[in-house]
Symmetry: C2
Subunit: 438 residues, 2 copies
């Protein structure tokens, strides 16, 4: 899925590579700040990052897709309205509270847009808000408005790396991907590590390009790029109320080749989607499932998702345990419920290139077992160490490699297919989400 096959021997090597990706396209600025505040909902202080992405001149050429969760956050409600505006000039992103169904949430977010617009010389409707954090908490609007000038004065035209860092919450490292087309580029940043099974979009993704491309084209190309990338990943099956992907073009560089642009956009989306999974909460293994010769793409994708979302498949992967019966269980669970007419007679399943199931039966023995264990161990990002206090924390904050556990499911009944990306389920995920308040 990823366009690259990188390895990073150290945190420093990864950061250097990120810096090389994070070159801001022409016509953009980025900045950020952070501060403490007291939430209205609990009785202890919290910290918030505020990030600004701005165009030198508001642009008519932008596109966005949002979550399909039926309780969207206030920023998503406003973001959908912004799609009808003639131009967009800036994005403001905050962490810690997602402003979902908090009292007066939409009004508070509009006040923030007005404050940002005033600082940047833009109308409130030229500012798109994004929020991520605790669902149900209010925006600390006065503290945020007070922090806007600091964020605005920090803005620079060189790098997106600070912004990519500033939008992070439980992410372990920034996610930045770049693709060049002629003299221009598309550079994207993503935030997202939990509550990730996007539908029409994922957590927070900002794609900036200086390549000139009209609004109508952007709005056609963005969903096409998002569908096989962000919509084909799942970390924990949970679809956020805040999922947002925004694409902004400054138009500073002419781009006559729409096909090359679409290809670059697709590459950045696929790479960022894989980054989001690889950096998912507690992830030790990225699991890629390729479903082939299916009767329909939709079924192939759903069946692949059923496999990567099975807690028992996920925990087996975590343990480097080729308990491959659980994979068949997950296929059968999906097919039994949702595709009872599907003929599974000729289904063939392989793990790490080794056939484990064909002609209706498993093919297992101690030699195969050893080979499968080796494949799982090779794909591991790191191993847990038992912590003295029982709270598991990730042992790395960079991706040492881009290898995946490779599962292939050949249904042998059609010509459609899909590839989905998931992850294992680990003690670090439990610690992240149960052992202390997010």
């Amino acid at each position: 899925m990823a366009s690259t096959d990188l390895t990073f021997p150290s945190r420093e090597a990864h950061r250097a590579w990120l810096a090389s990706q994070a070159v801001l396209p022409k016509g953009f600025r980025a900045g950020s700040t952070s501060f403490e505040f007291m939430p209205a909902e609990v009785s202890k202080p919290a910290a918030m990052n505020l990030t600004l992405l701005a165009l030198d001149r508001p642009t008519p050429d932008f596109a966005a897709v949002f979550t399909r969760n039926a309780f969207p956050g206030a920023p998503v409600v406003i973001g959908r309205r912004r799609l009808d505006e003639p131009t967009l000039g800036a994005v403001v992103v905050n962490t810690k509270t997602s402003n979902v169904r908090a009292p007066d949430g939409v009004a508070m977010a509009e006040r923030l847009c007005a404050g940002v617009g005033a600082a940047l010389g833009m109308a409130p409707t030229q500012v798109l808000p994004s929020s991520t954090g605790v669902i149900g908490w209010r925006l600390p609007i006065e503290a945020m408005l007070a922090a806007v000038p600091a964020a605005a004065s920090s803005m620079g035209k060189a790098s997106l790396l600070d912004a990519a860092q500033s939008i992070m919450t439980t992410d372990l490292y920034p996610k930045v991907r770049r693709a060049a087309v002629g003299q221009g580029s598309i550079v994207g940043i993503a935030k997202g590590a939990g509550m990730i099974e996007p539908n029409l979009a994922t957590m927070l993704v900002y794609l900036l390009t200086d390549l000139a491309m009209p609004r109508a084209t952007l709005r056609r190309l963005l969903p096409a790029a998002v569908d096989p990338s962000f919509n084909c990943i799942s970390i924990d099956t949970d679809t956020s109320t805040s999922d947002t992907v925004v694409l902004l073009s400054s138009g500073a560089v002419p781009c006559p080749d729409e096909e090359a642009f679409a290809q670059a956009l697709s590459t950045v989306c696929h790479d960022l989607a894989e980054d989001v999974v690889r950096n998912g909460e507690g992830v030790h293994h990225v699991v890629r499932v390729a479903v082939t010769r299916a009767p329909a793409e939709r079924l192939a994708r759903a069946l692949g998702k059923a496999v990567i979302n099975s807690p028992l498949v996920k925990t087996a992967m975590c343990g480097n345990d080729p308990n491959v019966g659980r994979i068949l269980m997950a296929i059968g669970k999906y097919a039994g419920m949702h595709a009872p007419q599907l003929n599974l007679q000729d289904t063939r399943v392989s793990l790490g290139g080794r056939t484990i199931f064909e002609n209706g039966s498993f093919r297992l023995d101690p030699a195969v077992e050893a080979e499968l264990v080796a494949h799982l161990e090779h794909a591991a990002l790191y191993a847990s160490a038992a912590p003295a206090n029982g709270v598991f924390r990730p042992r790395i904050d960079f991706p040492p490699h881009e290898r995946c556990v490779e599962l292939a499911i050949d249904l042998a009944v059609g010509t459609a297919g899909a590839t989905v990306l998931g992850a294992d389920l680990t003690h670090e995920y439990i610690s992240e989400n149960a052992d202390y308040r997010t």
Copy 2:
């Protein structure tokens, strides 16, 4: 959901209560044995329990429902055939290997039935096999046949408790429930602690009754009792390949009152279903979700399942963390995907009787937070202790109480409803399924 509200101050108190439930109905015998064998698939020995349940005389009056997983185990394939037999006389249950899609699985299971039939003086087709354990592993048929005489000679007419213990795998304690009707009774035992989101049936459940009830009635009443009980629970969303519920009547006690029988059957099924969840792998909290005023029962059940199956809701429960925004996320995830036309304007959500969301907004403050924490702590079965080696093991092997986390979702749009039972997601679940080979 459970018909009782029991508390058990100690393991001994729980075992004494189990013994009081496990009185065998008239006309039945039960026995078991265990032994070691060498699996063909891995290179270390394993242990197996073999359990026999038998009628004094084969009966025409029996019913069974099985998994809807599209890769059913060989015993399920055979069990479906047995439904057409004139009589059934015995059930043989083994642990450790589930005999799912292993080479020659059906033939091996039939050989086992023949061995059991020979020992009990019955035809092979009068024996129903059940298997639970690793998917893909073969039955160690020679070792099993050698063990049948020991199991047969251990059979007694007094108690089902040894059998309830013998069918356990990762279960922490036996599950036995009894309901009396006049001079007769229905006594059920269940095994199941993981891979539990049954569909049409759950893991392994055996319901024995001496109450006379014709086959046709049993086959009508069993699915009706299973649907709102076993089909409304989920521990980990995974539907086993072996789910089986069998109901056998010896007919020793006349039962003119079908209504009372149906009620008793429903009670035993509901109580066992709750037992299965309470004893689920790593479960600290049982979570009950009551969805009311829904447009349809099917939607109510699916929406409730979406809430109890959300990993982020489950981990919040585990941590006694009233991160209630995740509950709204889960409702919105389901509605956005599967019921986009559902009007959520008047949805009201409460936790432990406290309203947390109504009129489109959350109702949260530090006092509410403290009340919700107290409710979650009151419903906890036990708390984790950090283990020195990083492998979390349950700290109890009995259920200290029958309290649940009580979630209510009032959709205010219709008259249908459903109640579902789920559980939290804990370090003990991860350790059970990742830290050592099951």
